[in-house]
Every structure is written in C-alpha cells, then in structure tokens.
C-alpha cells in the first residue's frame, strides 16, 4: 500500500533522486562509532538537532495552554502543570531540553574546535554555527521569562540591565527588548513570547538549513 502510494508519486514527480540527495549517503569510516568507538564525538551535532526537534514539538503543544499575558501567564502554566494530563511531562521536556540543547551545542562546538574541523574550506559553516549558538542563547533567555514567576521576572530584569550596559545604544536596546524604557511588564512578556516562538525559531530554521546544506556540499572533514 505504502509502496504503491510512493510509486504513484515517484512516477509523476521523480522524488527518488531528491530523497537520495538528502538521506542516502555513506557515513565515512572515521565517523562511524561501529568502527572506532571514539567516533561518538561526531554524534553531538545530530543530537543537538534531535533535541531541537523535541523543543519544537513540545513548544508547539505547550502553546495550546500557555497565554502570554501578565494576568494569565503564570496561572495558565500552573494549570497546565497541575490539571492537564501529561502537561507536567511535556513542560518538563521543554524545560530540561532547553538545557540539554545548550550542552549538546557546546560539546559539538568543542569537537569541531579541537579537531580543527572549522578550517578552510569550512569557515563559513563555523560562522553559521556561531550564529545558531547565539540564536539558541536568545531562545533560552526569552523562554525563561514566559512562566512569569519570580525567578523569570528577576532573571529578565538582570538580562535587560546587561543589555543596557551596551555603549551608546544601551538604553534604546533595552527599550527595544522590553517594550518599555523602565517597566518590565505586560509589553515585555508579549515581546519575549513573539521573539521566542516566531522570530528566533524562524532564524533558527534558516540557519540550520544553511548549516546542513553546507555539510552536504563540503562533506564531513577528514580523519585526524
């Protein structure tokens, strides 16, 4: 049945070559942990991607219950956490996954750094990777505020004051992030929510696409 559906589509638009380009390529021996166990260090990039997929999925489901509004944000999180079946698990996945993403990202970066895999001709991919790292930190920072509890509020307060220390444009930068020059409140929360679920994920998808296209074009760097 599935084969028939696949054949029907393939006959018309010839998807097999596309599929081959994306998924069907050999893993070099030096990258395969089955050959050299130490090759597990090559898994960190993929693991980062895997956790990102979890973050995207769990985040999508969380927005079914979450409200980005100062009156209801905390209440909706509390409701989700205590009243909704498995809500605690899904928020737990998003909460812990946020930390795991950063850990995996760092391990991946360390591997690339210490193997010198960033060297010519892969400098561009290193730069894209650094941008992904910044986007991830942004996602962590904006997501931290969303439960709207004391920890979230004061952590954001501190983060915004750091932004304010930027020379010359500090004040404007803070107002841009917080939605107000002084108050960390209603406008900050909606802003952080929009940045967290629309702007940064959009940037993340674009950067990840470039990251992966570049890997496919340039191949994995050779053995040490």
């Amino acid at each position: 049945m599935l084969q028939k559906i696949y054949d029907w589509i393939d006959e018309r638009i010839d998807i097999t070559p596309i599929w081959r380009d994306i998924a069907d390529h050999e893993v070099p021996e030096h990258v395969n942990p089955a050959h050299h166990f130490s090759a597990f260090v090559y898994c960190f990039g993929g693991l980062t991607f895997f956790v990102v997929v979890i973050q995207i999925l769990s985040g999508m489901f969380l927005t079914m219950y979450y409200v980005p509004d100062i009156e209801n944000a905390w209440k909706s999180v509390y409701y989700l956490q205590t009243e909704v079946a498995h809500g605690q698990i899904v928020r737990g996945m998003h909460h812990w996954g946020a930390s795991v993403v950063i850990v995996m990202l760092l391990l991946h970066t360390l591997r690339v750094f210490f193997q010198g895999a960033y060297k010519k001709p892969r400098e561009l991919n290193w730069m894209v990777g650094v941008l992904i790292f910044f986007v991830m930190l942004g996602l962590g920072f904006t997501g931290y505020l969303l439960p709207w509890d004391n920890k979230a509020y004061f952590a954001t307060q501190v983060g915004l004051e750091m932004a304010e220390q930027v020379p010359v444009i500090g004040g404007e930068l803070k107002a841009l992030l917080a939605g107000d020059e002084e108050i960390v409140g209603a406008q900050t929360l909606t802003r952080f929510f929009a940045i967290h679920v629309f702007f940064l994920p959009g940037a993340l998808f674009a950067l990840m696409a470039i990251h992966f296209v570049l890997i496919r074009r340039q191949g994995i760097s050779g053995p040490l």
């Binding site: 999925l57 769990s58 489901f61 219950y65 209801n72 909706s76 409701y79």
Partner: protein, 170 residues
C-alpha cells in the same frame, strides 16, 4: 555464519531493529504531547449544578417570563460568572417549564412574542425562526428542533435551574 540460507538477512535485521527502536523513541516523545493535546476531549461531561434563579414558584404565571441569573464557571485557569437566561411559565397542568432562549437553528437568542406579527410564540430575530409556547419549533421556519429545557427543582418555594437539555427534533 552457517551456510544455510538466512531467513532474515543482516541488513533486514538491522532495518527492523532500527525502525523498531526509532519508532519506540518517537512514540515515547509524542505520546505525552498528544495525550496533553486531547485532554479536553477525555474530560468527563460537567455535572450541571442547580442554581437559585431568584424566582419564587408562586410568582410564576402562565405567561413566559424572562429570568436571568449567574452561574459559577471554571474555564481552565479562568473563573467567571457568566449569565444565563430562561423563559419560565406554568403549563396547563401547573408544571413549571423553563426554556432555553438559544435558537436551535444557529444559536441566536429568542424571546417571547419577540415579533408583533407572531403573538403567543417565541421569535428569533436572526432568521425569523419561531416556536410555539411549549418550545416546539414551528414547521416551515429555520429551526429543526425544539428549544432545550432546563433541568429544574423547587426548594423552599424557590426555582432552581441546572443544565439546558436539548430535545429531539420534531
């Protein structure tokens, strides 16, 4: 490896194993999310609580009168007291009838003798839907079912109303 023909090739075995493990992981990830998403569907239907609508039984006449009251509603993390309305009267047997004013056509609000052209009937202004006094829809007008009736009880001479129960189409 034996020389005999293998039932399952090494490649097949690996394929099955990887698909199985991958499927198990995917299921483990998705199960809590889907369970959370469908939670509202699996909630037991809410029990209608009877609320004193502030109308003494002796004040109920044979002419439908409009009664407004408030119920307590918990909607997730939001608690409120939305209003409810009923048309209440005593029928020929002296039984109390409490009709919901929500038109069974598309949910507008009907009122008793809402149109001067149709005395002794409930009238819906949206599409000229009409109901007779007992709440039964008039044939040839848009509604396809009678007005729902509220569950009711009388305590200490006061009228208590619960949930509106839909009636079968006539």
């Amino acid at each position: 490896m034996s020389e005999e023909k293998q039932q399952v090739s090494r490649r097949q075995f690996l394929n099955y194993t990887l698909t199985g493990v991958g499927g198990f992981m995917a299921a483990g990830l998705l199960a809590p999310m889907l369970r959370m998403a469908i939670d509202p569907v699996l909630q037991p239907p809410s029990e209608g609580e009877f609320v004193n609508v502030g109308l003494a039984v002796e004040d109920i006449t044979t002419t439908p009168q409009r009664v407004d009251w408030k119920i307590k509603q918990v909607d997730g993390w939001y608690e409120s007291e939305p209003g409810r309305t009923a048309w209440v009267y005593k029928d020929d047997n002296g039984d109390i009838i409490a009709l919901s004013p929500i038109c069974t056509h598309l949910g507008c609000v009907v009122s008793w003798e809402g149109s001067e052209d149709h005395p002794n009937q409930f009238f819906c202004p949206c599409h000229d839907g009409r109901y007779t006094k007992d709440g039964v829809n008039v044939k040839g007008t848009p509604p396809l079912a009678p007005l729902p009736t509220f569950e009711q009880k009388v305590e200490n001479g006061m009228l208590y109303l619960g949930k509106a129960i839909p009636r079968k189409g006539a």
